[in-house]
């Protein structure tokens, strides 16, 4: 009999959400070794090394292609050109200040969207009547092209910060609310029932159990929608523009200054990458319990 002895060790178990790993040698379907086995884990530290290495390789190829004159510098400047342009923009054009303004706008709109989407999303899946009432509207608005709504936004909110925040919010909120509703829907019924059978009322079950249960996937979805929020930045910041990365990029585009456009775009990418990594780290820290022994 090959059953594991009762020393409570660790067999896989459908009850838990953890996927426990057995020794790799026990389930190797092919003789192939190394990192290219399907779903094979990478040795410690390889992840970061491969990520950095591959990124540098892409940059190197790009640089060489540009230096050899295989691309038109007007459309596709070399990474070194973009980098030096960025440095010049930081010293001469207040680029970092523009980045800071954009970051404030994105986070302002994103937090506003989150603060609204979480209770509404929870209510939509918690109470069928709320869901039935709001779902068609949310689904409809979610597909509207934000750029087409800019004049309408101006009529409602003027040409100040409100319109910019509104446009960013518009691109984020309706997506987020459905994700939140899904997160809530995925909370197992058993969790509610456990709470009720130890004497919780609905509010307590929602607060102490359902919210806590959905938190890891909620934080993940917030991270993803923060990324969307950045993609709407250009649309928001070319409206009555005087500041922000969107404005910088658009103004440079007007005068066909590709290195400056690229520098702005790259800076947005860098901010996004850094934010994302930071949030992933926080996620891992905050939800240690998701990992098995």
């Amino acid at each position: 009999m090959s059953l594991v002895a009762e020393a409570e060790g660790g067999t896989s178990d459908v009850a838990g959400s953890s996927v426990q790993t057995t020794a790799p040698s026990a389930r190797r379907p092919t003789a192939r070794r190394g990192p290219f086995r399907l779903r094979a884990p990478l040795p410690r530290g390889w992840d970061a090394a491969v990520a950095v290495g591959a990124s540098l390789a892409i940059l190197a190829v790009w640089e060489i292609v540009a230096r050899l004159g295989l691309t038109t510098p007007l459309f596709f400047p070399a990474p070194s050109t973009i980098l030096s342009t960025m440095a010049r923009m930081i010293s001469d054009q207040n680029l970092l200040w523009h980045a800071w303004v954009s970051t404030l706008r994105v986070w302002g709109a994103f937090l506003l969207a989150a603060v609204m989407a979480i209770p509404i999303g929870v209510a939509m899946s918690g109470y069928r009547v709320v869901g039935a009432a709001l779902e068609p509207a949310v689904d409809f608005i979610r597909y509207l092209p934000v750029p087409a709504l800019v004049p309408l936004a101006i009529i409602w909110f003027g040409v100040g910060e409100e319109t910019k925040i509104f446009l960013l919010w518009l691109g984020t909120f309706f997506q987020l609310v459905l994700l939140v509703a899904d997160d809530m829907r995925r909370v197992p019924n058993e969790y509610f029932e456990i709470a009720y059978t130890v004497g919780a009322n609905e509010r307590q079950a929602l607060k102490d159990v359902a919210f806590r249960a959905m938190l890891p996937s909620l934080v993940d979805n917030l991270r993803i929608s923060l990324g969307w929020c950045w993609t709407y930045l250009i649309i928001a910041e070319i409206v009555a523009a005087d500041s922000g990365l969107g404005f910088v990029i658009w103004a440079a585009r007007r005068y066909m200054k590709t290195p400056e456009v690229m520098a702005g775009v790259v800076l947005i990418g860098v901010i996004g990458l850094a934010t994302d990594q930071l949030l992933r780290l926080l996620h891992r820290r905050a939800f240690r319990y998701l990992r098995g022994a």
Binding site: V150, G158, I238, V239, A240, A241, A251, M256
Partner: protein, 329 residues
């Protein structure tokens, strides 16, 4: 200082719209075009402050956004070309009346074409890329009219003018209506097209940038706009006497170098100061040259259905502000 302004804007996000001194403030929206630089220079030089008006100017390329802002009363002034002023959906009741001109395009707008196109007449049946409602479209229409054609005789493709250089690389495009600096960049970079400047605003007078003002505010505070124009004209005087100083102040507002700004000024546009305005706008009894240009452009816009209603120059141009400051020193 700008940090503080932005921070304040955020904190007052919902509580904004507080009443301010309406009789001294002018909020302007204009496209990212260096022709409107005198406003920035007058701000930076403190001309408006000396005169007691408070001016804010921001960029907005999209005309429908500007119309929305003006309808809502969020801005007092818009600057555009005459042709754009007339475009759909403007009718006699739309807010905005022309009080002055600020610059005219002298080579700043035009149509570039492949080597095979000898004149406007050769464009028949050819593919021409042009954004709706830009000056080059009017120039093109005017030239076509001279040879008895209209835009309907061409295959029109709508593009974003910023993309001119990339679009010109496509050999299926025979000509592009565009503006500077991308117009020159397209010609110099896409050498395989052997492109040339087919039509230029240098040869025409119809591309003029005007200053549009909300009628209700003009009626309430006419003196404010006299001060506004005085400040702008003073900046244009500065350009004439000390162009280097003017360019140095203007360049940062557009994220351009001084060299780039100088080149645009030298090759593309001409500011219209007080003397030119007196001549262009005239007086109520003796209308200036702008009225005639207005009518010509109006007809072109109507011909290609870029405008719905025939607008009357006498209703759309208000000479009172220029008249009031014409005599002053």
């Amino acid at each position: 200082m700008r940090h503080v302004v932005i921070a304040a804007a955020f904190s007052l996000l919902l509580a904004s719209g507080a009443a301010r001194a309406e009789d001294s403030r002018i909020r302007v929206l204009a496209p990212t075009w260096t022709g409107y630089a005198p406003v920035f220079v007058a701000m930076d030089k403190g001309y408006f402050k000396e005169l007691g008006v408070e001016v804010e100017m921001r960029f907005e390329d999209d005309r429908s956004n500007v119309l929305a802002a003006m309808t809502r009363g969020d801005i007092e002034v818009d600057m555009r070309t005459v042709g754009e002023h007339q475009g759909r959906p403007r009718d006699a009741s739309t807010p905005g009346v022309i009080i002055a001109t600020i610059d005219k395009s002298v080579g700043g707008d035009g149509v570039i074409s492949a080597a095979s196109i000898g004149s406007a007449a050769d464009l028949k049946g050819k593919t021409v890329a042009v954004e709706p409602n830009i000056p080059a479209r009017l120039l093109l229409q005017l030239e076509l009219k001279k040879v008895g054609m209209t835009l309907d005789d061409l295959k029109i493709k709508e593009i974003m003018t910023q993309d001119t250089v990339a679009v010109f690389a496509d050999p299926s495009i025979d000509a592009i209506g565009t503006y500077e600096p991308v117009m020159s960049q397209a010609l110099s970079s896409q050498t395989q097209r052997k492109g040339k400047l087919l039509i230029s605003s240098k040869d025409s007078e119809i591309i003029i940038d005007i200053i549009d003002v909300r009628q209700d505010d003009l009626k309430k505070n006419p003196v404010k706009y006299q001060k506004f124009l005085t400040g702008i004209f003073k900046a244009i005087e500065l350009y004439k006497s000390d162009p280097a100083e003017f360019i140095k102040l203007a360049a940062p507002h557009y994220n351009l170098s001084e060299k780039e700004v100088k080149e645009i000024f030298d090759t593309s546009l001409q500011f219209t100061g007080k003397a030119e305005n007196v001549e262009m706008i005239g007086t109520k009894d003796k209308p200036g040259k702008l009225y005639e240009i207005f009518d010509t452009v109006m007809q072109l816009n109507l011909d290609y259905k870029a405008a719905d209603a025939k607008l009357e120059a006498r209703q759309q141009i208000d000479p009172s502000v220029v008249t009031a400051i014409a005599g002053a020193k």
